[in-house]
């Protein structure tokens, strides 16, 4: 049944293209219905699947001669990310309710992107996964290049180029794995159990990991992310930061780490203090956390603050993966969900609620507008979202980052301490942005009627409420997702990882 998430999205995109010109309202409603239907299917699948283990959804031979199958399946990790995709898709449409310019095409590209993302999370055949992964890149380019703002052509091209370089690296690794394993199957589960020679894993692992890592904002390949997020229209930033970055992290875990677990082993010698790829990537993740946070601290553009904060928060995901501890990996998957929801919310506030009204994102200019009084709903939403983002207990960020930090402590104590420092810088930049954007310059009395902004609309309110509710639900009851994530991480697919980590 879960396969319908993909089909519904693509069919919806097709239907939108066929819609006559000028039916803007109908296009919106149709897109929303499609997104809601996709989410409903996911929820049904989530409820149905009790254990979180691997469940095959569809399996048909595709190119039998090459051992390629159309193989869709889901486990707890996919389900978590499918839920995230559904939530962000729905709210993204709610926050694009004011798109008038070529609305039909906008939503068609949007739904294509969603369909591709659903496809990646459900594919258990490497070639299929790669196909969906590529499908997701194309609409991203157009969404930014056509509907974007600041330096949109540059940002769109940069994003596309980075993505393609990453895909090329992934493709090389995957084909090599296919050939080394005897050119019989592309099935992810079977390949994960194939004992690849260690020297092969030693070069294939970093290749594929970096290939996917580019999309996850792995420092120093993250530079597409802030520019892309800033240039994209609100809904696309929400998807980019909320879901597309998770594609990268998901690929790192599902493909790179599951196929080549021995690639994480010690090299047997030390270069500059590094003893394995694991050390290298853990350090890169850590640098990402700190660098993203520190750069966010000095941004003048409100949206860039959020853009760099995404790099910082995704660093926690990658650090969690590199801990190779049960609790660290749980935390990494939970953080993917948490950051997806929160980044979506933050971009919605900045891009839709603030920018679409004030037409500026310059913090110094916003400071003069007393937005805390003019659009109190946006201020309240941003306050809650930033509380969640800095990891206040009760919100999803706390549980997720806490688990990552505990895992990191067990594997790299020093890194955990430094990552903790990243959290503190996180408080500082969020605080600064909040103060400047919403509560700035209130020392003298102000004439609030000078800025007749349109009030916050109903779709915006609903969207904000959905995202906040998701974060608080998971923050207060993380067991809801952990229940399926933990068994998924213990499925046979990740056996190599646990055996390796026992070394």
């Amino acid at each position: 049944m879960l396969a319908w998430t993909i089909y519904i999205s693509f069919l919806g995109a097709l239907a939108l293209m066929l819609l006559p010109k000028g039916f803007v309202r109908a296009a919106r409603v149709l897109a929303l219905l499609v997104a809601v239907a996709g989410f409903a299917v996911t929820v049904a699948g989530f409820v149905e699947q009790q254990s979180g283990g691997l469940v095959t959804v569809a399996r048909v031979a595709w190119v039998p001669a090459l051992g390629i199958e159309y193989h869709l399946a889901s486990d707890g990790i996919s389900l978590t990310l499918l839920l995230l995709t559904g939530i962000v898709a729905i709210t993204g449409i709610l926050f694009s309710w004011n798109v008038e310019h070529r609305a039909k095409e906008f939503f068609a590209f949007y739904l294509t992107l969603i369909g591709g993302v659903y496809g990646v999370f459900l594919s258990f055949d490497l070639l299929l996964l790669f196909v969906f992964y590529e499908i997701a890149i194309i609409p991203k380019y157009f969404l930014i290049a056509i509907w974007g703002s600041t330096r949109r052509e540059y940002a769109a091209m940069k994003l596309a180029l980075y993505s393609f370089v990453g895909s090329a690296m992934v493709l090389i690794g995957l084909i090599a794995a296919y050939v080394v394993a005897g050119s019989r199957t592309m099935d992810l589960v079977r390949l994960a159990q194939f004992p690849f020679p260690v020297p092969f894993q030693m070069w294939a692992f970093p290749l594929v990991f970096v290939g996917f890592g580019i999309l996850a904002g792995l420092w120093p390949f993250h530079t597409w992310a802030p520019t892309g997020h800033v240039a994209a229209p609100t809904a696309a930033s929400m998807l980019l930061a909320g879901v597309v970055m998770k594609l990268g992290a998901y690929g790192c875990l599902r493909v790179a780490m599951a196929l080549f677990p021995r690639g994480l082993d010690a090299w047997g010698f030390h270069v500059l203090g590094f003893g394995s790829w694991r050390d290298v990537f853990a350090l890169l993740a850590l640098v990402g956390i700190l660098y993203g946070a520190m750069v966010a601290l000095v941004q003048k553009d409100f949206k860039f603050v959020i853009g760099y904060s995404s790099v910082s928060h995704m660093g926690f995901v990658l650090l969690g993966l590199m801990t190779l501890q049960q609790i660290g990996l749980d935390g990494a998957v939970l953080q993917m969900f948490s950051h997806g929801v929160l980044a979506g919310l933050l971009f919605a506030v900045v891009g839709r609620m603030v920018y679409d009204r004030t037409h500026t994102r310059d913090l110094a200019a916003l400071e003069m507008m007393h937005l805390g009084k003019v659009i109190p709903f946006a201020a309240a939403t941003f306050v809650l979202a930033s509380m969640a983002s800095i990891g206040l207990p009760g919100f999803s960020g706390f549980v997720a980052e806490l688990q990552v930090l505990i895992g990191a402590w067990r594997s790299f104590p020093l890194f955990a301490v430094v990552a903790g420092l990243g959290v503190v810088i996180g408080i500082a930049y969020t605080w600064r942005a909040m103060q400047k954007a919403f509560f700035g310059g209130t020392t003298q009395a102000v004439e609030t009627t000078a800025h007749p902004f349109p009030p916050i609309s109903i779709p915006e309110r609903i969207g904000a409420a959905i995202l906040l509710a998701a974060s608080i639900t998971i923050g207060l009851y993380p067991q809801l997702l952990l229940r399926v994530i933990i068994p998924a991480l213990h499925s046979p697919m990740f056996d190599g990882l646990w055996k390796g980590s026992a070394r």
Binding site: I327, V383, L392, I406, T442, L482
Partner: protein
């Protein structure tokens, strides 16, 4: 009530109230205040029921609820109340409606104001009953955020600085506290206060720390000391102890007066409560090894804050420093019982006396300080915002009821026998004198200075020549008198019959003293 888990119900009640006020009170500020007051009184009623159903003979935890929550993190939903928790619940439930009544002048965004106050109340209830670090910390922070916005959005001219300073201090303290408990969790796998205290008593905590964190010459004892210090910072900022108090005068002075009542009446008690519930049982040995410096800190808090109050000209700042001074007595009492007494039964009795005094003082200070700030609010309303010591004079001629009633509160704060303030301080000094004689002797200086600055207020504000501009100052209205009456009556009742509180907390005190093992 019999069906519902009482403590969860009590904690959820203000949260529901906050949502209701925010939704239905948006148009009408009177309605918002009415609704908020209704919820606050409902919560007070629930606390009264709990007080009634509490079994005073059994000092341990009652009304306990335990539910599995996040097994992978060792987190359980665990709440319960002993005499101390119950006393603090009662105090919060009394102060919150008082603070709402004193916030009558809030017109701008009143629904948000009152819903933040209710959220703060939920944070207080949660903090005083949670027994697992995870959700205890959640409530601890939940009370910080509304307090920040109450100051930030409705405060005086310097509110931005004051609110930021308040936030940064308390946040830094919270981060230290959080890190300490994360480290403990890494070593023991436990977040539960009761379990951790049990481990500390049985001597299992140090070996666990030795396994998890000790490193070369950084022995388990040193690790424990560092963790103890981290947790100490979190609580000491909140109380506050000198030299971590500098955020307080600005925050108290700039906050709208209703909020100041909450800050001083209830939130400062969170710090003291943390010392008693968390630090003392878990880090007993470590605290004991630092007993002398800690006593110095308490003495410095008492004397220096009283001295600083002498130099202030703003009534709110005077009471802010006086508040630090009064909480200093609580800290003095707590640190004095850390003395190793072996099996000497006399000194054990003294410890119980000091601790009973601390409990009483927590309640009494909350009540008295909140009432005093309320009077300042009433004065500000009449003077158009003026509240300097030298702005007034001779008010007793035009506003005799105001001066008389505020005089009662002032004398209660001063510790006049027959009023509530006396009993707590007396018991603390009675206990501290044999346990830490020098500290008690030096602290008496604080009592003396307090008397001086409180009497100065009486002299400068109530007596002396009446400036012409105040000759038409209206006295208290009947409504205001009625609203103030319960608090003042309670001051007399507790002054004459402290058994009302002591009877309930006595077995808890005895248990606390017995469980101190060095």
């Amino acid at each position: 009530m019999n069906m519902l888990p009482p403590i969860s119900f009590l904690t959820a009640l203000p949260l529901v109230g906050a949502a209701v006020v925010l939704i239905f009170g948006a148009r009408n500020s009177r309605l918002a205040r009415g609704l908020a007051l209704a919820f606050a009184f409902f919560a007070l009623a629930v606390v009264l029921v709990l007080w009634h159903r509490f079994d005073p003979a059994f000092g341990g935890l009652q009304f306990e609820e335990v539910h599995a929550w996040i097994p992978s993190l060792g987190v359980e939903y665990h709440v319960g109340a002993d005499g101390l928790s119950l006393l603090m619940l009662m105090l919060s439930a009394i102060i919150v409606p008082m603070a709402m009544a004193a916030s009558r002048q809030i017109e701008e965004r009143a629904s948000l104001y009152f819903s933040l106050v209710l959220m703060l109340e939920a944070g207080l209830f949660g903090t005083f009953t949670a027994l697992n670090f995870f959700h205890w910390f959640l409530f601890w922070e939940l009370s910080l955020i509304p307090a920040f916005f109450l100051i930030r959005l409705w405060g005086g001219p310097q509110r931005a600085t004051a609110a930021t300073q308040f936030f940064i201090y308390t946040m830094a303290g919270s981060v230290a506290l959080l890190l300490a408990f994360l480290a403990i969790f890494l070593c023991t796998g436990k977040f539960d206060f009761i379990d951790l205290a049990e481990m500390a008593r049985n001597g299992q905590l140090l070996p666990a720390l030795a396994n998890g964190l000790a490193w070369h010459r950084f022995t388990a004892e040193k690790v424990a000391l560092v963790l103890c210090f981290g947790a100490f910072l979190g609580f000491a900022v909140k109380v506050p102890l000198v030299p971590l108090h500098t955020w307080l005068p600005a925050a108290y002075a700039e906050a709208p007066t209703g909020t100041t009542m909450l800050l001083t009446g209830t939130m400062s008690k969170m710090g003291v409560y943390g010392f008693l519930r968390v630090l003392l049982p878990i880090f007993c040995v470590q605290l004991r090894s630092a007993r002398t410096p800690l006593l110095w800190l308490a003495v410095a808090t008492i004397v220096l804050s009283a001295y600083a109050a002498l130099a202030q000209r703003d009534l709110k700042r005077i009471f802010a420093y006086s508040s630090i001074n009064h909480l200093g007595y609580c800290m003095l009492g707590i640190f004095s019982i850390l003395r190793f007494t072996g099996n000497d039964p006399t000194l054990t009795t003294e410890k119980a006396a000091a601790l009973s005094g601390v409990f009483l003082q927590m309640f009494n200070h909350g009540l008295t300080a909140a009432t005093l700030f309320w009077f300042v609010a009433l004065l500000e309303k009449r003077s158009g915002g003026l509240r300097g010591l030298n702005d007034f004079g001779g008010l007793r001629r035009v506003a005799p009821a105001f001066c008389g009633l505020m005089g009662i509160a002032l004398f209660s704060s001063l510790g006049l026998p027959g009023l509530n303030g006396f009993v707590g301080e007396f018991l603390i000094f009675k206990g501290v004198f044999p346990l830490a004689t020098w500290a008690a002797v030096v602290s008496v200086l604080g009592l003396l200075l307090t008397a001086i600055f409180l009497l100065t207020i009486l002299q400068r504000v109530f007596s002396g020549p009446l400036p012409g501009k105040w000759s038409r100052m209206p006295d208290l209205t009947t409504g205001e008198r009625l609203a103030l009456l319960p608090a003042l009556v309670l001051m007399f009742v507790l002054g004459v019959y402290p058994q009302l509180i002591l009877g309930v907390v006595n077995s808890t005190v005895v248990q606390f003293v017995q469980q101190l093992k060095f």
